[in-house]
Structures are given as C-alpha cells and as structure tokens.
Symmetry: C2
Subunit: 202 residues, 2 copies
Amino acid sequence: MAAAVITRLVRMVRWEPGASARLRAAAMDLYVSRGFDGTTAADIAQAAGLTERTFFRHFADKREVLFDGQNLMQQAFLDGVAAAPREASALELVASGLSAVATFFPDERRDYSRRRQTIIAENPALQERELLKLAVLATAVAAALRARGIPEPTATLAAQSGVTVFGVTFGVWIAESSERSFDDIQRDMLQELVAMTAGVPS
Amino acid sequence: MAAAVITRLVRMVRWEPGASARLRAAAMDLYVSRGFDGTTAADIAQAAGLTERTFFRHFADKREVLFDGQNLMQQAFLDGVAAAPREASALELVASGLSAVATFFPDERRDYSRRRQTIIAENPALQERELLKLAVLATAVAAALRARGIPEPTATLAAQSGVTVFGVTFGVWIAESSERSFDDIQRDMLQELVAMTAGVPS
DNA sequence: GTCTATAGTGCGATAGAC
DNA sequence: GTCTATCGCACTATAGAC
C-alpha cells in the first residue's frame, strides 16, 4: 500500500530511478533475442525509456553493459586473499581468494550465467572484453599477493594460475550436464593443477 | 644494379607489391607518433599510398594490423608440442612448445617488440585484442595436448599455464634492464611455476 | 569503389535535488 | 547558488553492405 503511493510519487519526478539496472536488463533481453550485433544502443535505450546518449553516460560502450558486475567479484577475490592465515604460501593465498569468489556463484545463478555466457560465446568482441576483465583481475590478485609478501615473478604466476582455475571452473559449472557446486568443482580443479605440475621436467 | 631495374619495372605496374607490409609499417609509425586513437585508417592507407578501402581488405580492423604475425608463432608452438617425445607428460609437452616458440624472439627482435608493446600498453582496445590472440593460442594448445592423449581438464590447465609462462617471460624479456635470452628466462619461469605449485594445499 | 548505419564523443540546455 | 542526471543535436570514424 505504502509502496504504491511511493511509486505514484516517484512517477511524478522527471526520471525513473534505476536507469543502469533498466539498461542492463533491456540489453540482456535484446542481446538474446536479436543478437549483440543486431542490437543498437538506441534500441536498448528505448527499451529502457531513455535516450541513446544516456546509455553511453552509464556505460562506456555497448559491451560494458554485460560486465559491470565484475568489480564486486574482484573485490571478493581480493578480500579472500587478505583473509588467508599468516604464513600462507602463494597458492594457499590464491586458494583462499578462490573460495571467497565461489560464493558469487550459487546454484540459483547458474541459469543466468548460462544465458549471459551464450551471448558472449557468440561474439568475439564480447570475448575480448571478458578476457580483459580477467586480465585486470589477475593483475589485481598479483598485487594482493605482493602485499602479502610474495615476490615476483611468483606472485604473477600464482595469480594467473588462480584466474585460470576460476575460468576452467566456470566453464565446467555452466556446462549442460553439470550439477556440482561451483566450490566443489573449483577445489578439484586446483588439485588437478597441482597434480599436473607435479610431473617435473628439469 | 639489377635491383634498381626491377624497382623501375615495378613502378610501372598498377600497384606496388607488398601492400600488407607497407600498411603494417605505416601503422606502426603512425601509432607511435600520433597514438592509436589519433590515427585513422585513412591516415594509414594514405601513408602507404593506398585507399582506406584497401586497408580494410587487408586487415579486418584497425587493431588487427598489429597482430597478424601471431599465427606463425602459434604454429611454432603447436609444432613444438607435436615434436615432443612419446610418453611426455602434459607439462613436458608444453615445455616443448615453449622452447619452439622462443626461437621467434631472438635478441635482435627485442627493440621491435618493445616498441610494439609500448603502443599496446597505452590502449585498452589493443590489450583486448592481444588477450584474445593469447586465448586463441591457449585453446589451440589445449587441442594439441588432447591430440597427444592428455585428458580434460588437464589439457586446458596445462595449455593455459604454458601461455601464462610465455606471457610472463615476454614481459621480463622486454623489461628495460633485461639482457637474458628469451629461452633462458622462459626455462626459469617454468621452474618457478613448478616450485610455486609444489607447496600443496589439500 | 561508393554509400550508409551506427558506435561513440563534445557541448549546451534543462530539470530537479540539496 | 552547486551538483547530478537527462536530453538533443552535431559530428567523426569505423566497418560493413551494396
């Protein structure tokens, strides 16, 4: 009841709140129905009741609208690294970050992630943006490891390996057949990485 | 002498040969002097004595002109994997590919690589393209590992790790102070990777 | 080789919030 | 008054269609 009154009051102001969220939702829908290339910025803006110019004030480009959630995930990873026990090794620090990030991918989110990934898989420009975000993540993780006393080049190698584990995990998690939790898959994947490097070539 | 005659004859044909090479050289120069964003496709074409339309017939987009050498490097990596001895482990297959790729980076090439990397480092769009090329490389390497009997997800983890080692090596190799050969750095980096994962978290 | 859609930018004006 | 979100319009360059 009170909510309805508030809604009516809100409608009287010059613009509806939550422009970013509306643009994001509209973009997802249109990218699914018409494809990324078949959707113009004007289409998205119109679907959200805004103008093209406003779209570009919220998002630097047409791709970014699919990726602005990444920052939260990155922060979780970094917090996870920071939360690791003293004297943890580089790989243990990374493992701690990975556990933290797994909380961002509960089972309920799997369908959404699948839809989003389908859009990205169909367009090289979107793949490029995703890779850039992962590279930024790896760089940030490497910095966090250095802050915990891990020297280069170990910090960068460990950070990149962590992002690799995350990426492979994500791929398995959204695979059609998969039913296991993100965290379960990720733990196994980290074990696989360790096992893979155990066969030492000198 | 003969060369001069040939040059004169060549000038009589409808177009100079080596259009791609001229466009590539012109693009490098202009990207350095005016920056990537400050250079238009028309600028590059004009500097190479060609039209904008011709530029886009040779390169899919303005970025690609800096990246079309990658295919040769990728093939070298794959050949290196294929050349590894029977019964090689995943990491040994990758190490074999890495050795092969190191031949693409003799000391004489360091200055060129530095200039090119400076351009890329200044522009996110170029970083995206570079990351895509590396991702394509990793995918191809993973396929080569599977062809040698390495199962998933080990193949992908090993391939990604290999590309990581390559990337970190490249960064050290072009660093101002570095004087060591690409191959030397890369061997150490692979050892570091193995050492880093040896501290096993269960 | 020409034509065109559209991504993305720059700038000024407007409408409200504070 | 300042600050922020929006619109509207003109503009360039990319990239693809014809």
